[in-house]
Symmetry: C2
Subunit: 346 residues, 2 copies
């Protein structure tokens, strides 16, 4: 958690609750498609959406989009102070810019004055593709280069009087991402936007983002997260929540723990675990359910679960917090377990 | 990396190379099924397989299984020193036991003498379900309780003269797993077997294992890893390799980086990234390929890639290490890119 807090619309970054971000993939000026995508992101649990501004139509579209969505919108603008200002005037709740490519000192002043006047924050940062050349020369492709580059961008905006800042230092290399954010967290008090960039396709992107973002979150680093997947952005939001849950930072959901099953398992533990997962998806209640392979280890290993089932030979057991309270024939076990589960969910 | 090294068959734990483990899910005494599963695990890249020993038939099956597979086999035995000894006599390359439930001091001596005579290592450890009661009372469900419990088991075997030990302290809670291993790594020189236990179904298991195992690996903690999924164990092996790759600990493969795509993307970047992934799966060559959404950021962000493509409007560019060397009409881009890719792979 950062020392400073920054507000993006009605979302606070740095206050302890980690905000989930994603980015639209349609042309921003296509208001209908953009709104539809943001509404889907909202429903999936997205807290802040970002949209690219490539031209005047995109910048102007912010006002129409904002009227129809319910979460804050970030304008991602490069190479043009004019477009950045136009996006803010049209209601962008935050800017993502690179002070080094916005056009020069006078242009940066225009943007700085605009965000100050509108009271909105700016995210700056570096990724391995945008390390400032002198830092790249001095430090190579390293955490030090990423952090120095990001903090130089911070200083540029601070000199223009901007204080509502959020910082990122992304790499597609996971250990580099982790070490860069660890270094950055020691050197700044601003909220951190954490993510692994160009994480890849869905599967590898999930693994890389889980490790990079998760390793930082378990150390208390990160105020807002973005999972980058080359896939439907709704999946980025699902992945972000899964990471938050796995890190113990999101609690109001039904957790299903299940053992990997081994030679001791004598019933369809995997299938049942999937069906239980299906049933509880979306339930906003804090519960922990166990689907365990064997009676020998199951109840003991799942002592901390509110409800559990473990397979035996001809009989399964249903247990609560490690205590077996029902022994049922294997053939009826699933039905009986779901009955108990419904009682808990009610 | 641990200070001590331990050999499991021809695999060294603690030597820097992280060994991938998995566990069979069929009855061990069903030799045909067990061998078939282990051969599939081998092909997927499993370095060490573990099998549960529930009865004498399972223990005796180790000799028949070992003749037909090529990776070391671990016998997972509880509640019976006799079965543990029998498994070792039948060729188990390592034992996984819990000294606390093996039957008492005399029984533990039998097991200790047996593993010393055969020169094989033992894994001991604690998980949240098997914390020794006195440590649970003293420290609750904590990293301290897990580590104290595991090290007490280590001491029990050390007192019997066993020195080839591997230790684990698993929880299904990711932050607890991470903090327990961090504590354990400071207190022991033995190789560590790292994993998140009862990680859950495929999706959440992948996220939890990625974070837990990945966060430790990027800190240099862990000598052998097990991803626990309530799913086909072959998927555990795939996940383990994905985690190792994401952590930069496995290099001989083709990495495909791709950006998440945004409003700037004007071609089927996602589809192409998937098709490139499909093509390079299994290629044991160190290459980095980029499939980027836009010409603006793509080549720069993927400077470190051996080959890349970035979409524009009517034209795409193909680049090498950030330098564009070909500009091709969008309609022909994929075909041209695959042609270049084949040249690289040849």
């Amino acid at each position: 958690m950062s020392v400073r807090q920054v507000r993006v619309g009605d979302v606070t970054l740095g206050g302890g609750k980690i905000a989930v971000q994603s980015m639209t993939t349609v042309k921003t000026s296509d208001v209908t498609s953009c709104v539809a995508q943001i509404l889907r992101l909202e429903e999936a649990g997205c807290d802040i959406a970002r949209a690219a501004v490539l031209d005047e139509e995109d910048a102007r579209a912010f006002s129409a989009i904002r009227e129809k969505v319910h979460i804050p919108l970030v304008a991602d603008v490069h190479f043009s102070a004019r477009l950045a200002v136009l996006a803010v005037e049209n209601g962008a709740d935050k800017l993502r810019i690179n002070p080094g490519n916005i056009g020069g000192g006078r242009e940066l002043s225009l943007v700085a004055d605009c965000v100050k006047a509108h009271g909105i924050p700016v995210r700056v940062g570096a990724n391995t593709g945008s390390i400032e050349p002198h830092f790249f020369e001095a430090y190579g492709r390293s955490a030090e280069a990423l952090v120095s580059s990001a903090l130089e961008n911070v200083a540029l905006l601070e000199r223009k009087g901007v204080r509502d800042l959020v910082i990122s230092v992304k790499a597609s290399d996971v250990p580099l991402t982790v070490s860069a954010y660890e270094l950055l967290a020691r050197r700044t008090e601003y909220p951190l936007h954490v993510g692994v960039t160009e994480a890849g396709t869905e599967r590898m992107g999930l693994v890389k983002s889980s490790i990079g973002i998760g390793a930082l979150l378990v150390c208390g680093i990160g105020d807002t997260i973005r999972v980058s997947l080359t896939s439907d952005p709704v999946k980025e939001v699902y992945a972000a929540h899964d990471i938050l849950r796995a890190c113990g930072l999101e609690k109001d959901y039904v957790e299903v723990v299940s053992c990997p099953t081994c030679g001791r398992c004598r019933y369809d533990c995997m299938g049942l675990a999937e069906r239980v997962n299906e049933r509880v998806r979306g339930v906003r209640k804090r519960l922990k359910i166990a689907v365990m392979g064997c009676v020998v280890n199951g109840p003991g290993e799942a002592k901390d679960c509110d409800l559990g089932i473990a397979g035996g030979g001809e009989y399964c057991v249903i247990f609560r917090r490690g205590e077996v309270f029902e022994r049922v024939p294997a053939a009826e076990a699933e039905e009986r377990f779901f009955k108990r589960l419904e009682e808990w969910l009610a």
